[in-house]
């Protein structure tokens, strides 16, 4: 008996009550929505924090409660939430959960119960993190990288209970991500439907799959560093803590290695960039192909590029540490690997552009976000080439140039994809369309606004404006123009921040009042749009699993009337399709 037949069985655990259907749900679609809503909620908290920080930088002293400690706490929580609790959770837990089983033709994840646990652990980690706002001393203010010794040394904001809750929350998050990740990887490998070969999977699945593999191999380093730092903080061990004099007193720590933490952290931290980027690459490839009515250019190369980027991402981590004090030869090695990553990444950008080339481009809201992503990722990627070289990085290190770079490449770019993907798949999730006009307004303000925010930051970086400062007055090397620019950036940031309310309103309104979408509003070929019901019912596929006959990108195929061929259509069906399609056209 082939174990693949496991997938054939009817979905088990058909939920009967409200609680099993929507709360303790084992259905991947419900879990995905739970993940997404939680991530968006906690992301809003981080968005508000960034607004507070910008107000302090742009208009110093405008917030009475903003002292240096509060500023650092806002900065730390903003970074940590955005990278881990919003983007990672949303891409893997949200999009991964929803799309993987539907796109590969499975009834659910292979272990639904574990999948459910994954969400509840994630929620717990979010609650623990948010609890740190309410403990004495407040949340950690160590910067999102949490570098020791300062992160757990008295005097740093939140070095009491805040950092402990942060580390515990991270450990819980990693448990959640591991439970989810095991499910995603096993599902992609072992539970594909008839005819769904690896090279027929949509690039979305490839991106999320590879990102999950990275998560399973990178999060252990963060887990270990969190455990060790917890012990340093709570038990007085000295893994990361060197001999130190604090306020004239020798501390109790001795002989630890702060740079060990940096290595462990960035061994996680750099793959983390791609845990966020690879799903975005995958999703955006599908958006571009569908909305340009063309097959993705160079599908196999796109897959191999995803794999190559994933592998290379594990050997570049120390490019975050050029100024940390390393052997210079390490810098040479890591600069080389960093620049090598540009090859598969550039290949992907070329292929996106070549997919657009002479396509039938529909400027729908998802397509606008996808195009914006290509631009933004290109800008962010090019500044990455500067920072990847040791000799250029050293003067730019810890300036706003770095802030501009990573926000462009792994902040704005993935978020644009998140928006595009939500506008694209919302009809699948709810059966209704998001409002188009609100969507376009949301797009233009967000897109232009982010450029108004981050383009000037590159210039500020060149001026030498350091990052992580609480206030910039009184430094002679910072000219007046920088202060004016800071005020400008703050205004832009606040406008973009408030605009997101438009998006939330659109989500809420369209869920109940949106225009009914029908089963396949974008006329997409991939499998998730071919479910018998929209939104898909429990078990996704009714009595029989679908059979896949082609890849996910048959758009505008010559000689076929309809401009897309669903993956479920066989060659045999094709004859029927072209014969009676004339009648359908009338």
């Amino acid at each position: 008996m082939a174990y693949a037949e496991q997938a054939e069985r009817e979905a088990v655990h058909e939920p009967t009550s409200f609680i099993t259907r929507y709360i303790w749900s084992q259905d991947h679609k419900v879990i995905a929505v739970q993940y997404a809503l939680t991530a968006i909620f906690v992301g809003l908290v981080a968005l508000v924090l960034s607004g507070l920080m910008r107000l302090q930088i742009g208009f110093p002293g405008s917030l009475s409660f903003m002292d240096p400690s509060t500023y650092y706490q806002a900065m730390t929580m903003h970074g940590m939430i955005m990278v881990i609790y919003l983007l990672t959770a949303l891409f893997l837990g949200g999009f991964g959960n929803y799309l993987i089983p539907l796109m590969i033709g499975a009834r659910d994840m292979v272990f639904p119960y574990l999948n459910m646990l994954s969400y509840w652990f994630y929620l717990l980690s979010v609650l623990v993190l948010l609890a740190s706002f309410f403990v004495p001393g407040g949340p950690s203010g160590a910067g999102w990288t949490l570098y020791p010794p300062q992160s757990i040394t008295p005097g740093t904001p939140g070095s009491g209970a805040g950092i402990v809750l942060m580390l515990v929350s991270l450990a819980i998050f990693i448990v959640a991500a591991t439970m989810g990740g095991l499910n995603y990887v096993t599902t992609v490998l072992q539970a594909r439907t008839h005819g769904m070969t690896l090279f027929r999977m949509p690039l979305t699945v490839w991106g999320i799959f590879m990102a999950t593999v990275l998560a399973l191999l990178a999060f252990p380093a963060l887990f270990v560093s969190a455990v060790m730092m917890l012990f340093d903080r709570l038990l007085g061990t000295s893994f990361f803590m060197p001999d130190m004099i604090l306020l004239g007193q020798q501390t109790e720590h001795s002989g630890g290695s702060p740079i060990l933490f940096q290595h462990l952290f960035w061994f996680f931290g750099h793959p983390e960039v791609y845990i966020v980027a690879l799903p975005a690459f995958g999703l955006v490839s599908d958006l571009i192909s569908v909305h340009a009515r063309k097959n993705i250019f160079g599908y196999r190369m796109m897959v191999w590029a995803i794999v190559a980027i994933g592998v290379l991402s594990f050997v570049v981590w120390a490019h975050h540490m050029y100024v940390s004090g390393m052997n210079p030869y390490f810098g040479f090695f890591f600069a080389t690997t960093t620049l090598v990553i540009a090859v598969p990444t550039a290949l992907k950008v070329y292929n996106w552009v070549l997919t657009l080339w002479r396509g039938d481009i529909h400027l729908t809201v998802p397509m606008l976000f996808a195009l914006a992503f290509i631009l933004t990722f290109l800008v962010g990627g090019l500044t990455g080439l500067f920072l990847g070289n040791v000799i250029v990085d050293i003067p730019l290190s810890d300036t706003y140039f770095v802030v501009a770079h990573f926000h462009m490449v792994m902040g704005v770019a993935p978020i644009l994809v998140v928006f595009g993907a939500i506008y694209h798949w919302f009809p699948k999730v709810t059966g209704r369309m998001l409002d188009d006009r609100l969507g376009k307004l949301h797009f233009w303000i967000t897109f232009l606004g982010t450029y108004a925010i981050y383009f000037p930051m590159h210039y500020l970086g060149f001026l030498g404006m350091p990052r992580r400062y609480y206030a910039y007055e009184g430094y002679e090397f910072i000219p007046q123009s920088a202060h004016d620019l800071n005020a400008f950036i703050t205004v832009a940031a606040l406008i973009v921040g408030v605009t997101q309310l438009l998006f939330l309103y659109n989500l809420l309104h369209s869920t109940f009042r949106g225009r009914p979408a029908g089963p396949n509003p974008w006329r997409a070929a991939s499998l998730e749009w071919q479910t018998p019901q929209t939104p898909p019912a429990h078990g996704n596929w009714g009595a029989k699993l679908p059979v896949v006959h082609r890849w996910a990108y048959d758009y505008s195929v010559p000689g076929v009337q309809q401009d897309y061929i669903p993956q479920t259509v066989s060659e045999h069906d094709m004859h029927g399709l072209s014969a009676d399609s004339d009648e359908e056209a009338d």
């Binding site: 008839h194 690896l198 027929r200 399973l216 060790m228 012990f231 630890g256 290695s257």
Partner: protein
């Protein structure tokens, strides 16, 4: 000679093709591998990274600390009948854990033969060996604590010795303890006849993967912590 090497080449490229087709085909990449087993393998790869990071962290702090590192063969010596024997307890613990891998492998074998009683008994034996390992570890911990070894310092030398020792052996001991509970649960299911009703003994083999992994990790801890 020439034709021979060509034939080898042909076989090689054919086996590559088979591998490629297996991987790229529909339904499942690993043929005849149940979901639980695939997932356990992936989990173990991830867990390998956890232990690797712990061990690399330990080696790094052992190199960065300026205090002398306590000599393991002296710290871990037991005085039996007036004679100090280095590493004797660790040797016995290692022997027991490796032996438990043997009983585990036999349990899997009897599982394939659908021998319910022998499988359950061997699983139980494995769990008992594991529990005795944890018991000896508890003895070792209490002995060291009694001698003044703490996570934050010890009388023999570098403070990182205690920190790394308790962290790494503790984390491994936790894995063994969880494994013991896991094996007992599986043994109970086997004994009750659940697996005969399910029609296969995969559950035993999957538990076996975990158990062998925990043993293998111990070999590395033994080599890097006790023998170095």
């Amino acid at each position: 000679m020439d034709t021979g090497s060509k034939r080898t080449q042909g076989v090689l490229s054919r086996s590559w093709q088979v591998l490629y087709h297996d991987w790229a085909s529909d339904k499942d990449a690993f043929k005849q591998v149940p979901w639980g087993k695939a997932m356990m393998w992936i989990f173990l790869v991830s867990d390998t990274f956890v232990f690797s990071c712990f061990l690399i962290g330990y080696m790094t702090v052992r190199m960065t600390t300026v205090e002398p590192w306590p000599v393991p063969s002296e710290v871990f010596a037991l005085t039996i009948a007036g004679q100090s024997i280095p590493l004797i307890l660790i040797a016995v613990m290692t022997f027991i854990l490796i032996s438990s891998s043997g009983t585990m492998a036999m349990a899997v074998n009897f599982g394939y033969r659908r021998n319910r009683g022998a499988t359950a008994a061997l699983l139980l034996a494995t769990a008992l060996l594991g529990a005795s390992f944890v018991g000896m570890q508890a003895f070792e911990w209490s002995k060291l604590i009694h001698e003044g070894v703490r996570p934050w310092g010890n009388p023999m030398g570098a403070a990182q010795f205690g920190a790394a020792f308790f962290t790494i052996t503790g984390f491994h001991g936790m894995h063994v303890s969880i494994g013991v509970l896991y094996l007992l649960a599986v043994a109970f299911k086997v004994w009750r006849g659940d697996l005969d009703r399910a029609g296969n003994y995969q559950l035993v083999e999957i538990a076996g993967l975990y158990w062998h992994f925990v043993d293998l990790v111990w070999v590395f801890i033994f080599a890097f912590f006790y023998l170095w």
